[in-house]
């Protein structure tokens, strides 16, 4: 291990931001907090992007590691113990100074602090806590802080940290316990899920909500338990259909929090008020899209996560357990997962509606919502002037904003196709699925192959730079509209890569 003495702060910043860049989350959203009138900083619920790096990703936070020294040896990670890279460690003062000076100049919304595991999980978590405390209490920083919880750290330190952070995250790293064992031998699923559960329970108790199975509640309490109970009830139904390899997430035990051991700091900003997030690496291991979104769904329902991030696997290390990527990171797949993630969180879809064990992967040619609609043509066309909000949301070409506008605008008028266009509905997609005042826009036959081929002619707006090149080669499939085989191709491709990585 290479450790340099007397390194400048700038050099450290270069090493420790370079080492932090693979963490996806850079959001500063989820909490609205006015300035304190004395210190520095506030927080805006919608989040603010301060700049965009050359890869097009938003920079909102000073995203750094406290240290890139690490006793763990996760195969995919640049900072793993067995890699020969330059190592550096910030002092808490250095981090505080950087944060404040960057914040004053409006470069950032706040701090994103992660770390390699230095000496032990407890020691690392302590250093992070020390930094956050200093930033809040000595530098009076009132902006946004996102902090990692180190798996395996003492729950007491995790809880203390939670009083100073706005968001915390524990990375799931890989969708299943088996993959984790293979690629991150020092981490266990249990050590990851434990702090996640702890933070969830802490948040609920901090908000005055009784936790199921832990604190008996009575009607007299007057707490709003509705939300939590429905989540619990919902989760019950999903556990019936759950895939065996993610059952540990679905059956996570809600007991065992140590919450309440720590006295909140004098300025009480709430316990992890912006909630928690996590991230999974996509494409390093052979899980299907169905497994991945089922994991995400279980995390939203059982752990009340705010966000699950997906990170297309980037080949950094050579290791016999890692796939050899020939085409660069699987960005289109990552994009499809984010689209599906949105459907789970804002559109009222369930993972089992989008995919199944027989059809385990997303269509590369078409977004998940169009794909779903084509498989459920019996539910269309929808009358735009009558359908409820959630039905509107299921129409391809109608997003959250346009659905809200439709509901608002039709209070005072019967909407026409012209109105829908003005409202922002993408008619060239939606026209196959809707009627206005009982009539379709054109006479259209509601037939899967026909609509599929029409929709594929409307070019999907993919994020710039994501090539659907591999997908567009398969134009001949348009005729029979058997797009599941396109999926199969896509999968077997990465499967092959995976196997070749194994030397098989």
């Amino acid at each position: 291990m290479v450790i340099q003495e007397n390194m400048t702060v700038q050099k450290k910043l270069e090493i420790l931001s370079d080492a932090a860049k693979y963490d996806v989350a850079c959001t500063s959203s989820g909490v609205d907090r006015k300035g304190s009138g004395s210190g520095i900083g506030n927080s805006v619920a919608c989040g603010i992007c301060h700049t965009f790096s050359a890869d097009g990703r938003c920079i909102s936070l000073l995203k750094i590691l406290l240290t890139n020294e690490c006793i763990f040896d996760c195969k995919y990670c640049m900072n793993r113990a067995s890699n020969d890279v330059l190592r550096a460690t910030f002092s808490p003062e250095e981090i505080c100074n950087l944060t404040i000076e960057f914040y004053r100049r409006n470069y950032i919304e706040g701090l994103f602090l992660s770390a390699g595991v230095l000496k032990s999980p407890d020691y690392t978590m302590e250093q992070m806590l020390k930094t956050l405390r200093m930033l809040r209490e000595e530098y009076h920083f009132n902006g946004y802080i996102h902090c990692k919880a180190v798996p395996g750290a003492d729950p007491v330190i995790v809880e203390m940290t939670g009083w100073y952070a706005d968001r915390m995250s524990v990375n799931l790293e890989l969708p299943t316990a088996d993959s984790l064992k293979m690629l991150a031998p020092n981490k266990t699923r249990k050590n990851i899920l434990k702090p996640m559960k702890q933070i969830q329970i802490g948040r609920l108790e901090n908000k005055g909500m009784p936790v199921f199975n832990r604190i008996p509640f009575s009607e007299e309490d007057g707490y709003d338990t509705g939300r939590y109970l429905t989540t619990a009830a919902k989760a019950q139904t999903t556990s019936d259909i759950v895939l065996p390899d993610i059952s540990d997430i679905v059956t996570a035990d809600p007991s065992g929090s140590s919450f309440g051991l720590i006295k909140p700091p004098s300025v009480n900003r709430g316990f992890v008020p912006a909630g928690q997030s996590t991230q999974m690496i996509i494409g390093a291991t052979p899980e299907s899209d169905y497994q991945i979104i089922s994991v995400a769904e279980a995390l939203y329902q059982k752990f009340d996560l705010k966000r699950v991030f997906y990170s297309a696997y980037i080949s950094i290390n050579d290791d016999s357990n890692l796939p050899a990527l020939t085409q660069g990171p699987p960005l289109l797949r990552e994009h499809r997962l984010y689209q599906a993630d949105w459907l789970l969180r804002f559109y009222g879809f369930q993972a089992s509606e989008l995919l199944s064990e027989n059809r385990p992967n997303f269509n590369t040619l078409m977004d998940p919502k169009c794909n779903w609609a084509l498989g459920h043509l019996e539910q269309f066309p929808v009358e735009v002037n009558k359908a409820d909000y959630y039905t509107l949301l299921r129409i391809p070409g109608v997003g959250v904003k346009s659905a809200q506008r439709i509901v608002r605008a039709r209070k005072s008028a019967n909407l026409t196709f012209e109105d829908l266009k003005k409202i922002g509905v993408v008619l060239k997609r939606a026209l196959y699925f809707i009627t206005c005042n009982g009539r379709m826009m054109y006479p259209v036959k509601i037939e899967e192959n026909y609509i599929t081929s029409m929709l594929l002619q409307v070019k999907e707006k993919l994020p710039l730079g994501i090539e659907a090149a591999s997908a567009y080669k398969q134009l001949s499939l348009f005729d029979n509209a058997d797009f599941t085989s396109a999926n199969a191709d896509f999968r077997s491709l990465s499967q092959d890569n995976f196997l070749s990585g194994l030397g098989g």
Binding site: G37, N42, T51, A54, D55, F102, I314, S412, A413
Partner: protein, 257 residues
């Protein structure tokens, strides 16, 4: 037949509201009236058979219109026209006039009539203004000059500095800062623990703004270094970057110098 009248007003919310009052009380028929904003060199095309009226701001007329908007429409509608008046669109004066004509006839429901073209137009203007203001909450950059004063220079299309002022005053309440709009020569000035004020920049000593503090350079360099290293080479995507961060903002951003 009444002849066409064009009300030429000052480039401000006050000017527009006075013109609305004058146009309304002209009994000339709304269809024959137009409100035009006099700004800089732009005078618009002069037309034949048209009377041009220079509108002079009047406190009394302004407050009458504001009161009518509050009472006959809603406070939400008033916020919409305030924001629309900050737009850079030449037609904003007349757009507000048309919006108010609809508003006075339908009342508070107007904000739901998203299919009405005048209502939609106002939403378009306000969306544009608030989007740019939101962008600048992130993209604006302060530089520290001598005595620790923070100075930001921006060149927005819409007149957004008064929308930015409350945000930065809350955030940096302990700082002395100036936000300077170089297109309009206006500025927001905020003193430590004091309320902000809006001024034209004749009050500013622009040369002093250039005297950046000693440590400024080292912080700039660190920010640029961070900006470079945080990007992932394998995912490089300049098109996406340009889409998310339009070039026009970059001339005033440290990391693109």
């Amino acid at each position: 037949m009444s002849e066409k009248k064009v009300y030429q007003c000052e480039d401000s919310l006050e000017g527009i509201l006075t013109a609305v009052y004058d146009a309304w009380s002209s009994r000339n028929g709304h269809g024959n009236n137009e409100i035009r904003i006099l700004s800089g060199d732009y005078q618009g095309n002069m037309e034949l058979f048209t009377e041009y009226i220079i509108v002079k701001n009047s406190e009394e007329k302004i407050s009458k219109v504001i009161k009518a908007v509050y009472e006959k429409i809603s406070s939400e509608a008033y916020e919409l026209i305030c924001s629309a008046a900050c737009s850079c669109e030449q037609s904003r004066g007349d757009d507000i006039y048309r919006f108010l004509i609809v508003g006075f006839s339908v009342g508070r429901e107007i904000v739901d009539q998203l299919h009405n073209k005048y209502v939609m137009r106002i939403f378009e203007l306000t969306r544009n203004v608030s989007n740019e203001a939101h962008h600048l909450k992130g993209f604006l950059r302060f530089q520290e000059i001598e005595e620790g004063i923070l100075v930001a220079k921006i060149a927005p299309k819409n007149d957004v500095i008064r929308i930015l002022a409350p945000h930065f005053s809350d955030r940096l309440c302990q700082e002395n800062f100036i936000i300077y709009d170089e297109n309009r020569n206006t500025a927001i000035v905020h003193g430590e623990s004091k309320a902000w004020f809006y001024t034209d920049s004749s009050m500013l000593d622009v040369d002093r703004i250039k005297n950046i503090s000693e440590r400024e350079e080292s912080i700039d360099i660190m920010w640029k270094a961070f900006f470079q290293t945080i990007s992932i080479k394998e995912r490089e995507n300049k098109n996406l970057q340009r889409n998310n961060l339009p070039i026009r903002f970059r001339s005033n951003m440290t990391e693109f110098e």
